[in-house]
């Protein structure tokens, strides 16, 4: 019997798990995929927004601004990467200026630090790629960029080291409550019991809620966002995140420098029925090129190395919907977590545990809680002396597996065997970055498959690209060289 079951292993669920692990409670996180964070947490703009656009007083405004500040602590404790870029919100016509001024006022009300207005000319001096039509700019120096997926991974791994359990390929398909105990059924037939449930199922949250609530208080309408990724050789093309002035449809197409040197262009914003379909559409991709070109001059589109899409959990509640069920005590909705959900995630976790749960449960501190996550070295970023030392201690650091991102065999092995290790090609790509570069795995995919097979003691043809039963190598041939 668990005290808490968390449904959903995105950044929200992972940080809630970590926050709960500060207390003496028995927690299990359930994730339906074969790896954590494969939905919104994997495919988003990666921005820790300053908090300039949500309406003052909303949870999005409050938790967004608080979350932004909390990333400094996560950076120290969990070593999540943080690029302190700052951002410009850009008015490109005179008509935009009034809206920009209003956003400035809103930023002040929301408590955004350092917000100020600049002329287009002033801004272009600091950000030369900014479009020459830029009239006025809202400067938001507290904006940052992280690697969202790693936030979820390191939070979960830290939670696990503090006693939390987690299960992958554990899709919740039924929830019943009898005698104050929840029984959760998984797709594989297993059943788990818990005193309380936290629904952090992202774009699927209304479906999960529907398993127990007679009236689900919100409806989620999935909203797809597509992106283009520029190779890291464009590093420095822009220093800051560039936003257009937001419209009804959202924040618009942005230009976002990433922690690994790439630049993201996107997202688009299209409603769709499926909470999981991440299809790229020709029309969206063209729209990105066109829209991004009104924000920045001479974008090097010939450096596009990849496209992707993510799905926002846009809900009818407009704001985040974070509260206990009205029907079922101990069932917590953490729903409608669309933008700025990544930014707010640490504050959402704090709010759920410290405010909501503590109202109902006595939580006793976990005296053994260790806030510090494991640190995994990046060979390429080490100093020359450090590199020599690393190789001396472990020769596998000398073997470069991925030439584009300069990832060594030692790093790949580490990410296979770490507590929340990766066991598929894509899981290694996300952890070690092998295959994320210019050639997209052309050089290293085969090596990664072989290392996985060797380390997991499995035949080559069982190594999956990502989900179960997606092997890269389908059939052995007669001819062997």
């Amino acid at each position: 019997m668990y005290d808490f079951i968390i449904i959903g292993g995105g950044v929200t669920g992972a940080l809630i798990a970590r926050t709960l692990s500060r207390y003496q409670v028995k927690v299990c996180l359930l994730e339906k995929e074969s790896d954590i964070g494969n939905h919104a947490t994997l495919a988003n703009s990666a921005i820790i927004h300053a908090g300039f656009d949500p309406e003052p007083g909303t949870l999005k405004a409050r938790l967004g601004v608080r979350g932004n500040a909390m990333y400094e602590t996560l950076h120290k404790e969990l070593h999540v990467p943080l690029l302190r870029t700052g951002a410009y919100v850009v008015a490109r016509h005179e008509d935009d200026v009034a809206i920009l001024n209003a956003l400035y006022e809103r930023a002040l009300k929301n408590g955004v630090e350092g917000a100020k207005l600049l002329s287009g000319e002033q801004a272009r001096k600091l950000e030369p790629a900014l479009h020459r039509n830029s009239v006025k700019v809202l400067d938001l120096p507290s904006t940052k960029v992280t690697y969202p997926w790693e936030v979820a991974l390191s939070a979960l791994e830290n939670a696990v080291s503090n006693g939390v359990e987690y299960r992958l390929e554990a899709e919740v398909v039924g929830i019943v409550r009898t005698d104050k105990v929840y029984a959760v059924t998984l797709a594989n037939g297993h059943a788990l019991k818990s005193k309380a449930i936290i629904n952090a199922a992202g774009a699927f949250a209304d479906k999960v809620a529907g398993m127990i609530e007679t009236h689900v208080p919100y409806k989620i309408t999935p909203r797809r966002g597509e992106y283009l990724v520029l190779d890291k050789s464009v590093r420095g093309f822009v220093e800051r995140v560039l936003y257009p002035v937001p419209t009804e449809k959202g924040k618009g197409v942005l230009v976002v420098p990433q922690v690994h040197g790439n630049i993201l262009l996107g997202p688009t914003s299209e409603f769709q029925d499926s909470p999981s379909a991440v299809t790229n559409h020709q029309a969206d991709l063209s729209m990105i090129r066109q829209a991004a070109s009104t924000l920045a001059e001479a974008i090097p589109f010939d450096k596009v190395i990849r496209t992707f899409a993510g799905v926002r959990a846009t809900s009818s509640a407009k704001d985040f919907y974070i509260r206990q069920s009205l029907e079922h005590r101990g069932f917590y909705h953490v729903a409608g977590i669309d933008s700025p959900g990544l930014t707010a995630a640490p504050a959402i976790a704090e709010y759920v545990v410290e405010t909501l749960i503590k109202q109902d449960y006595d939580l006793e501190s976990n005296p053994d809680f260790n806030p510090y996550g494991m640190q995994y070295p990046h060979f390429h970023e080490a100093s020359l002396a450090k590199k020599r030392q690393m190789i001396a201690e472990n020769p596998a650091f000398g073997n470069i597996v991925c030439k584009c991102e300069r990832v060594t065999e030692a790093e790949v092995l580490m990410h296979i065997h770490r507590p929340c290790g990766g066991h598929s090609v894509k899981a290694i790509k996300k952890r070690a970055r092998a295959g994320s570069g210019l050639c997209q795995g052309g050089y290293c995919e085969g090596t990664v498959v072989k290392l996985l097979a060797r380390e997991l003691k499995q035949p080559l043809e069982t190594i999956d690209y990502y989900r179960k039963d997606t092997p890269i190598l389908m059939a052995e041939t007669k001819v062997k060289r």
Binding site: V229, V278, T279, N399, K403, G446, T470, A475, R481
Partner: protein, 420 residues
């Protein structure tokens, strides 16, 4: 110890350049990231290598083996499992950082560098193919490596996008291994592969080739389930109503190769927008004196024989540089004119120009007959008639120094179509 010439890459190009530079008396060190020498040739187990250099038809590994033998005979220094990561310029030469499985981190000093790191394959992301992103979409060369080096098929029902040579070769290869190859789509109105490959790999096996077609949708949640192709108009826009669907588990991409110049990242070397390799003069010298490039790392070749010939010239030029025999004074541009995709070299070093320069180039369109004309200003200084021209086939023209009228006016190469 300071090496005279450090060669990056031990494929056809690196070996030929190293052999030639060593024959000229240079101290050479070759670094190769793989576990063996030979480069891409090792996975090209089909025939068709060596017709020019050896006057016989060899497989890729056989061609490589002959050069590897010569290389070992000369006792040229080399290191395997050693990846070059960075190059720094120092007063009297360069320092190359490399990481080696056996020796760890290396900082190697040298007087000159030969980049012979080959090329990589353009990916799905680079051409921004829409649709789902399941497993089963991969570059044809990767599939070739899995099949020929590791002994594994990546799929059983295959469609191929792009009619580059690797795609064509793989169509036949997968067919022979029992896979069902449903077709090849090419967005251009002509094939990008060698004519002999169209005939021997597609026609002979009844594999349909859809010219002026591209993939417009990819379906499959986890594994590829199918692709849709559509005909395109002259602006490459898909024409509605021309959809054809194929139920396949594999989509191989043969949509172009790009010179791998990653180790140049921290250097300010002038790059060519079309070849995507460095801009060079007839000595294969880049905009940084002492750094040379050859083979697929410079521009993508269809025939290994040309790689070998080019790399030998590059090796000789590097030797002249190290011995202080080449003095770069004036660089005269050789521009790509009408119907010319690119030329190589793009510059001519007139201070050190004796004899004949082998200019390589590609045309932008197919023609049955035409003429190549090199002009300096208004003056025609060289012309050559040619037949059966196609963008996929590299052309060559020898430029004679004595024909130059001066050392100031840039040259232009035009391709004048006589019969399309």
């Amino acid at each position: 110890m300071k090496t005279d010439l450090l060669v990056i890459g031990g494929g056809a190009a690196g070996i030929a350049a190293a052999l030639e530079a060593s024959a000229q008396g240079l101290e050479v060190l070759l670094l190769e990231r793989d576990t063996q020498l030979g480069g891409i040739l090792n996975q090209c187990i089909h025939n068709g290598f060596g017709l020019h250099v050896f006057k016989e038809e060899l497989t890729g590994p056989e061609y490589a083996e002959r050069f590897i033998h010569m290389f070992h005979d000369k006792d040229i220094a080399y290191k395997l499992n050693t990846t070059v990561l960075d190059i720094r310029k120092e007063d009297a030469g360069f320092v190359v950082s490399a990481s080696s499985l056996q020796e760890g981190w290396l900082e190697l000093e040298c007087r000159a560098i030969m980049l012979a790191s080959g090329c990589y394959e353009r990916t799905r992301g680079q051409i921004q193919l829409p649709g789902d992103r399941p497993k089963g979409v991969m570059p044809a060369g990767s599939a070739q490596r899995y099949l020929n080096m590791d002994g594994y098929l990546v799929g059983k029902d295959v469609f191929i996008l792009g009619s580059g040579d690797i795609g064509l070769i793989m169509a036949r290869r997968m067919k022979l291994e029992g896979a069902n190859v449903h077709g090849v789509a090419e967005i251009m109105p002509h094939s990008n592969g060698l004519t002999r490959n169209i005939v021997q790999c597609l026609h002979d096996y009844d594999i349909p080739l859809f010219l002026s077609h591209t993939v417009t949708d990819i379906r499959g949640k986890d594994r590829l389930e199918g692709v849709t192709i559509q005909q395109v108009d002259e602006n490459w826009k898909p024409i509605s109503g021309t959809d054809k669907h194929f139920s396949v588990d594999t989509l191989l991409l043969s949509v172009g190769l790009v010179p791998d110049t990653m180790v140049f990242e921290s250097l300010d070397i002038a790059m060519h927008p079309v070849t995507k390799g460095a801009v060079v003069d007839q000595h294969y010298q880049t905009s940084i004196p002492g750094i040379f490039a050859c083979g697929n790392a410079l521009h993508v070749h269809d025939l290994v024989d040309y790689v070998t010939e080019e790399s030998r010239r590059a090796g000789r030029a590097a030797a002249r540089y190290v011995k202080g025999l080449s003095v770069r004074q004036k660089r005269l541009a050789l521009n790509s004119g009408a119907n010319i995709h690119y030329t190589l070299p793009q510059y001519i070093d007139t201070a050190d120009f004796n004899g004949v320069i082998s200019c390589m180039f590609r045309v932008t369109k197919k023609a049955e007959q035409g003429e190549f004309v090199i002009r300096q200003g208004d003056r025609i200084i060289q012309r050559k008639k040619a037949r059966f021209l196609a963008p996929a086939e590299m052309e060559q023209l020898d430029l004679d120094q004595t024909m130059l009228s001066d050392h100031e006016t840039p040259l232009t190469l035009d391709f004048e179509v006589i019969r399309p």
